[in-house]
């Protein structure tokens, strides 16, 4: 009899839905149906059984072809390459669990590497703003139960986070928002008429790249000063009307995406958005949140901040302390300035996301990809190591976009012999310790911690 597994987490977008149901075949090897997931979430569950999925590491040969090798050989190559490099860059982690991220961090420390995650090309500017100006945020549960004015600034959840609007931000009926959508005023700030903008009660069609000016206008209005007739392509009356709606809210929520943190000014756009949120709190309750892209991209920020004190762009090459300064220690800058001599791409596709020029620089040196599937990065790599798919074949802790940790489940067994990210990087760490004749103390510490934890997890 096929088995229905409930409360399954979806390893796709930053909404990190945890209410999926998955129907699994008798032998626990095949996924038959998924319920509750959106189109893109559904896809990831069916993707795992693709027959073209690699089940062994593949190493590039002198003639350019890829040849299958054993995991031991792949681990050995990775360990040696990391040790030999003067400054390796380990980047990625859009799609893996916190256990894997902490295992990678142990490897990075040992390798004196730079450790960076996809935030570097995504919500990195938001981090900078948060360092500078704080983060008056809340959970998505609070949004659902309280928010009656919701602002989407430079984000389009209807496409990027399909169930965000139905689970948290527009449609759901909550404790104080019993009438659902009827009770919510939606304001969308976007230069295009996106599907989210079409749903909104008010669409401010901002002139692209002028987010900072518009926030400044809102702040000036909120402090009772006059503003010019038009700011960022939007008429004064419309700005005043939107400001009034936010002020009158019982709970105003601002969600922002790439459209805000990746136009000119970047971190400053978010910085002033945070200041605006603070200003709104003079009148009502207001909160702000980054629309994080992947289901656990908030994870590395949490895990590495705990391990090293910084969420991303961690330069561990000094050996004595972690140094972080995006602009210098951020992946793209390091690549473009030829500051690294080895690249390890984990659970993301730098091949598809990085500028071609950056990839060309990185390709001068060893290039390793760790990813369950074939992707652009894997196909230009010197070594591709497949791993199990988190959330489908491997359980683990993930952080949703509001930094709420959720325990994800495994629904089927992974392909035989294929390790998880955590297992793989623990093997690399052990091999590095063997090669340098040092004690693998993190593995020993982990053993102690596991032995002294009574409950299974």
């Amino acid at each position: 009899m096929p088995k229905l597994i409930t409360q399954v987490g979806c390893p796709y977008c930053g909404s990190s839905c945890d209410d999926l149901e998955v129907l699994v075949s008798d032998d626990g090897k095949k996924i038959l149906e998924t319920h509750n997931a959106c189109v893109i979430g559904n896809e990831i569950f069916h993707h795992v059984s693709s027959p073209s999925r690699p089940k062994k590491p593949r190493m590039r040969q002198p003639d350019g072809t890829m040849k299958e090798i054993s995991y031991d050989e792949a681990v050995d190559f990775t360990a040696k390459t990391l040790l030999k490099s003067k400054k390796p860059l380990i980047y990625g982690f859009g799609s893996t669990n916190c256990e894997g991220m902490s295992a990678v961090a142990r490897v990075a420390e040992k390798a004196g590497a730079v450790l960076d995650n996809c935030a570097s090309i995504c919500h990195g500017p938001s981090f900078l703003a948060i360092f500078d100006n704080g983060y008056p945020s809340c959970t998505l549960g609070e949004v659902k139960n309280r928010a009656d004015v919701v602002v989407f600034w430079g984000c389009n959840p209807m496409h990027a986070h399909p169930r965000h609007t139905s689970r948290y931000s527009i449609f759901p009926r909550g404790f104080f928002t019993t009438k659902g959508q009827m009770q919510r005023t939606i304001i969308c700030v976007d230069p295009r008429e996106t599907d989210t903008a079409k749903l909104a009660d008010m669409h401010l069609m901002i002139k692209q790249g002028h987010d900072y000016d518009l926030f400044d206008a809102f702040r000036t209005v909120l402090r009772g000063h006059p503003i010019p007739e038009e700011v960022a392509g939007i008429k004064r009356e419309k700005i005043e009307e939107a400001a009034e709606a936010m002020k009158k809210a019982r709970f105003c929520m601002i969600f922002f995406g790439m459209g805000c943190c990746h136009t000119d000014g970047r971190n400053h756009n978010i910085d002033i958005a945070i200041s605006t949120t603070r200003d709104l709190n003079t009148y009502t309750k207001a909160s702000i949140m980054a629309m994080r892209g992947h289901y656990n991209i908030a994870g590395p920020g949490q895990v590495w901040s705990w391990q090293f004190g910084f969420p991303y762009c961690l330069d561990l090459s000094k050996g004595t302390h972690a140094h972080m300064n995006p602009g210098e220690t951020s992946s793209i800058d390091l690549a473009m300035r030829d500051e690294v001599d080895c690249f390890v791409n984990v659970g993301t596709d730098a091949g598809a996301h990085f500028p071609i020029a950056a990839i060309k620089h990185l390709k001068k040196h060893p290039f390793i990809t760790v990813d369950p599937n074939i992707c652009m990065a894997s196909e230009i790599s010197d070594l591709h190591i497949p791993v199990r798919v988190v959330g489908v074949e491997e359980p683990g802790v993930v952080y949703r976009m509001d930094n709420v940790p959720i325990q994800f489940k495994k629904v089927i067994d992974g392909p035989e012999g294929v390790p998880s990210d955590e297992e793989l990087f623990d093997m690399v760490y052990k091999r590095m310790c063997e090669l340098t004749q040092t004690e693998p103390f993190w593995i020993l510490a982990k053993g102690h911690a596991q032995a002294s934890t009574p409950t299974e997890h």
Partner: protein, 266 residues
């Protein structure tokens, strides 16, 4: 003044981190000892002598020591890091963090500098004949106490984030700047002789900005209050006087709010 000359003779594969190239470290050392100083290329520890030929003599104290780098430092970071006195001249370009956390003395770069020039500077002088990239005289990430004193003069153009979180001191850009001047500043003076695209004085609490050229996009939080005659950096001109950022908090003195000033040449 006794001068130590460093002649670069080898280009590093990655970037060199030379926290040690300061009059403070060089003072009282012979060229042979200076060549032995540790610098870093990634995680590898190398010696200054592996990349530079050191000659000449140093003074007994930092104030009596002059460093002359007779060549290009495009791939050398942290020149003059935390220096308190003395002087450094670079004949070519220099990479990031020139004069970072500097407290005193003088640095003269004859070429261009990369980002973070004069980051968290407290005193002294930096002169750059060429252009600067981003973050001239800015604060370190997350620090609300930026540049506190000293002078930075860039003869060419500068990028974005000039004087972010500035508290004191002076920054002069003799040509154009991109965006974000004195963002979050609570003091200090920035003078831009050329044009700026926009975001001048955003979230600014206190301090002064002078722009001789054009501001393409003025922030809505700035309001013109006056027209004044002023002498700035040796030049006399009439300026439109704006106050702002009206969207930001401002301290009060004798019951009146104190705003930041923006002067744009009329």
């Amino acid at each position: 003044m006794p001068t130590i000359t460093l002649k670069p003779y080898k280009t590093p594969e990655l970037m060199l981190e030379c926290y040690n190239i300061t009059p403070d470290v060089f003072a009282g050392k012979k060229p042979e000892e200076i060549a032995e100083l540790e610098i870093r290329e990634g995680k590898t520890r190398v010696k200054l002598g592996d990349f530079f030929e050191a000659s000449g003599s140093s003074g007994m104290t930092a104030a009596e020591t002059d460093i002359h780098i007779a060549g290009d430092c495009t791939r050398v970071k942290y020149i003059g890091n935390k220096m308190t006195a003395g002087s450094i001249t670079v004949d070519g370009n220099a990479d990031m963090y020139v004069g970072g956390w500097m407290k005193g003395g003088k640095i003269h770069v004859k070429g261009n500098v990369h980002s973070f020039c004069g980051i968290a500077m407290e005193g002294g002088e930096i002169l750059v004949d060429g252009n600067a990239e981003n973050y001239v005289g800015c604060a370190y990430r997350g620090d609300w106490r930026g540049m506190r004193g000293g002078t930075i003069r860039i003869k060419g153009n500068a990028g974005n984030d000039i004087g972010t979180f500035m508290l004191g001191g002076t920054i002069i850009i003799e040509n154009n700047a991109f965006i974000h001047v004195s963002t979050h500043a609570e003091g200090g003076t920035v003078i831009i002789k050329g044009d700026v695209q926009g975001r001048v004085g955003g979230q600014m609490v206190k301090g002064d900005i002078y722009v001789f050229g054009n501001i393409q996009y003025m922030l809505p939080g700035f309001k013109q209050v006056d027209k004044v005659e002023k002498e700035v950096d040796g030049e006399k001109a009439t300026f439109l006087h704006y106050i702002g950022d009206l969207g930001e908090r401002h301290p009060k003195s004798k019951g009146k709010e104190i705003y930041a000033n923006l002067y744009v040449k009329a």
